[in-house]
């Protein structure tokens, strides 16, 4: 029989430190698969965040440069401007990209920097122990939104991707999820599309990936997947938000 599914080349054979059922691990694999399939490993430079995925450089077998919390897109700007023919992507949590890094994200998109940002929306600060993130849903309990997030006290779940679509420099923005086999496949396609947009020199691309954090949501892995379907996706609908390669799309 033929092996039809195995570990991609660009993913080192070391166990992840992520919690059981964590979406980061799935997304890591997808990124490695796409890079291998597109043959980009040798020209790829990834920028991991401060966040649960800070150790991403232990898993990916291509060049990786650590970013201070939230500054991934600025750092990637420096990298990409110096090496315009490389594939440069950032990998950032929702706290990283949409709270502390808001300004950098928006202005990088606005400059149309030719990089790809992967924005992992797990509705909380995973690494620091489950505090409220900008994407935390209203009513969601976290250690810093006791009794559930209240809009006027704690702020509302932010729509960063939609905001970025308003910038003239952004080329491709899509929201996906990794809570089911179908959505995982779509996520992979979206990542591939983002990288393609970059290799074609079209400008800033971003894929927002809704991702389970069973630990901080205090759910089983499967409940977490269902909660994404029932709650998160209702507020953050999946789909292409902007695509300059298609007429009529975008805003």
């Amino acid at each position: 029989m033929k092996k039809v599914f195995s570990r991609p080349r660009s993913l080192r054979k070391v166990p992840f430190h992520y919690c059981p059922g964590c979406g980061h691990s799935i997304i890591h694999r997808l990124v490695a698969e796409v890079i291998d399939e597109m043959g980009l490993r040798e020209i790829t430079i990834g920028v991991p965040p401060a966040g649960c995925a800070v150790l991403a450089y232990f898993y990916f077998d291509f060049d990786m440069g650590e970013s201070p919390h939230g500054r991934g897109t600025a750092l990637a700007t420096g990298l990409k401007r110096a090496l315009p023919d490389r594939l440069v992507f950032t990998y950032q949590g929702d706290g990283d990209i949409a709270a502390i890094g808001t300004a950098e994200t928006i202005h990088t998109a606005n400059r149309g920097e030719n990089i790809t940002a992967l924005f992992i929306n797990n509705a909380c600060y995973g690494m620091t122990g489950g505090q409220m993130a900008p994407t935390t849903l209203l009513g969601q309990n976290t250690t810093t939104s006791p009794g559930g997030r209240e809009g006027l006290r704690d702020g509302y779940p932010i729509r960063l991707s939609e905001m970025l679509a308003l910038t003239d420099g952004s080329a491709y923005i899509e929201r996906t999820a990794v809570n089911s086999p179908v959505n995982i496949r779509k996520t992979k396609k979206a990542i591939a599309k983002g990288f393609k947009v970059q290799m074609d020199g079209l400008g800033f691309s971003l894929i927002e990936i809704v991702s389970p954090c069973p630990t901080n949501w205090r759910m089983s892995s499967h409940e977490a997947c269902q909660w994404i379907e029932k709650e998160i996706i209702q507020y953050y609908p999946l789909g292409v938000i902007k695509d300059v390669t298609k007429r009529g799309q975008g805003c």
Binding site: M1, V4, R7, P15, G21, S180
Partner: protein, 81 residues
Amino acid sequence: MNGRTSLKGYIEIDREFCKGCKLCIEFCPKGIISLSNNLNQKGYHPAYFTEENTKKEKRQCTGCSICAIVCPEVAIEVYRG
């Protein structure tokens, strides 16, 4: 999955990479993965492939790879042929 003849397949689960998250179990359309009662070195109950036991019930592995796609630990390899 129903409409066409399912190809025969099987999977291998790396016991030490598995963290027992049960996603493969929940998503396998054939329901042929189970959780072990024993702990692995990391202290998790790993999943294991149960096809041997379920063949008779026509719940054969199709090699559809769904389990591998959802597995966060890249602990599953899928064979089809």
